[in-house]
């Protein structure tokens, strides 16, 4: 697969379609699986890892779901290409930074990705745009069933599917939704919401999952437990809370428009202004401002920008994407200049289109 071609597309999670996509960016389900006759990855010698990689790659290629996938040898990729896959959420940061034989198999729509030799031998992920946990679960179940016929997954009657970390044992399932919650952040209700989520055993992480600081008001909600409940129950556990959060966010947005319209309009317009005129800008600031503009568009405060464009900019202004689109490697300082240039050009194009 040509990664450069991927750079031109947006990827499933930012397509911006699907139910409730004004708030729910994407729905994701992943399963952790291990091959019964090999040590777990962190305990595997170099040769074992190479054997696992070869074994799984070959077996996956024999099942119908696997034949639709393109395999990428992550161990042989340049750092920038690994970073690129992380930005598209097709591999994890840990997978990108790991050592030894490892790979990822991806489908053309970027809905399915199979990571080989991440923390577990196999991590199957399925991502759908908008709120569609059930659809993502049905799809991943099919893929898992097919691979499970070709590979003896490590399984114990009491403990279920065996994983390298006991936090994943049992179903090995992690069900998550990525939400855009700018109004809850602005109205300072977000911490309260998170505290109540923790009480019902749901985890909250920022986009890219580093610490609690979310970039651009994007938050991932997921199940914390994997044992003692069925996969369907866990899908429901996360699914049940999403409409509540959507309702909170919508009410907070309405409140902002009703009570502080001038302030919100000002904030959103300033964010838009900076994005259109800055000469150098960091990835973090870009994401923060795009988040505000995204909310502004949804509130009808900015007219000439499409949500799909904002979503696409969210990923294309990331460091590796920027460099791949430009075709050269750039250091941080030059990236910030290139990012500002890219944003100006993008919005100028819009302005031009608007006047035509």
């Amino acid at each position: 697969m040509k990664l450069d071609t991927l750079a031109q597309a947006v990827g499933e999670w930012l397509r911006g379609t699907g139910p409730e996509s004004d708030i729910v960016m994407s729905s994701r389900v992943r399963l952790a699986r291990n091959v019964a006759h090999f040590p777990f990855v962190s305990r595997a010698a170099e040769q074992d890892r190479a054997d696992v990689e070869k074994f799984l790659r070959e077996r996956i290629a024999t099942v119908p779901a696997g034949q639709k996938l393109e395999y990428i040898d992550v161990g042989r990729l340049e750092e920038i290409d690994r970073q690129f896959l992380v930005e598209r959420q097709l591999i994890s940061r840990e997978h990108a930074e790991a050592q030894g034989a490892r790979g990822v198999a991806i489908d053309g729509l970027e809905q399915v990705s199979l990571m080989i030799n991440e923390e577990d031998h196999l991590r199957i992920q399925c991502m759908h745009s908008g709120l569609d946990l059930r659809g993502a679960w049905e799809q991943i179940r099919g893929v898992d069933e097919q691979i499970g016929k070709a590979v003896a997954y490590a399984f114990h009657p009491r403990w279920g599917y065996l994983t390298a970390c006991p936090t994943n044992v049992g179903t090995g399932i992690r069900v998550s939704v990525m939400l855009h919650l700018p109004a809850l952040v602005i109205t300072r209700q977000i911490d309260k919401v998170f505290r109540s989520l923790h009480k019902i055993s749901l985890a909250v992480r920022g986009l890219y999952g580093e610490g609690s600081q979310a970039m651009g008001d994007f938050y991932q909600i997921s199940n914390q437990t994997t044992l003692g409940r069925t996969e369907e129950e866990l899908v429901e556990q996360v699914g049940d809370v999403v409409p509540v959060l959507i309702d909170y966010e919508r009410r907070a947005r309405e409140f902002l428009v009703r009570e502080t319209q001038q302030n919100v309009h000002d904030q959103v317009s300033r964010a838009y202004g900076i994005l259109r005129t800055a000469q150098t800008i960091s990835a973090e600031e870009t994401m923060q401002l795009l988040s505000r503009v995204r909310m502004g568009v949804l509130l009808g405060l900015i007219g000439d920008v499409k949500i799909a464009d904002i979503n696409s900019l969210l990923v294309r202004t990331q460091p590796a994407h920027l460099q791949k689109l430009r075709g050269i490697e750039l250091d941080t300082k030059d990236r910030n200049i290139e990012r500002a240039r890219y944003l100006r050009r993008h919005f100028e194009g819009h302005a031009a289109e608007g006047t035509n």
């Binding site: 923390e119 016929k149 970390c165 006991p166 936090t167 044992v169 179903t171 003692g228 069925t230």
Partner: protein, 183 residues
Amino acid sequence: MKCQQCDKQAVFHITELETGEVRELHLCEDHARSYLNQSETGGGGEGEEKASPGGALTGPLAVGQTADELALLDKKACPMCGITFFEFRNQGRLGCPHDYVHFEKELEPLIANIHGSTQHTGRRPDRAATGSPLPEGTEELTGVIGLRRGMQEAIACEDYEKAREDRDAIRAIEERWLGAPRA
């Protein structure tokens, strides 16, 4: 190794596991006691289930397990992958599927605290559909991990006869349970 909070020797090595995040603590006896007491009172009244997942690992220490007993437990190693409980506690990652059998007693309170359950109720592999002779559990197959390790050690010691025996045993298991040799 020194205690993270003073200059004394660290004798307690605690691994906190929270939603996949691993946090390591290396503490002297005094600081370990105060840390453990703190996490106990933090988790509700005495004798109650502790709220934090990490409480599971620290729990057994707090109810009077001595450093000697702990050291003994830490040295307990899985016969398949060779990982010791100490290594697991340090890394937060197990070494192979057999660890769930070999360390079952030690893992049980930890898993109960993380998940609030010790019994899988989700999907199970459908071996019948594939015509596989393998039972639902995969213990038999996991046995090759120990044999492979033995074979590698034998090769390193130039004990080629043992290496051959191990290789044949691995093939026999794989043929029996997987229907064909793996490679």
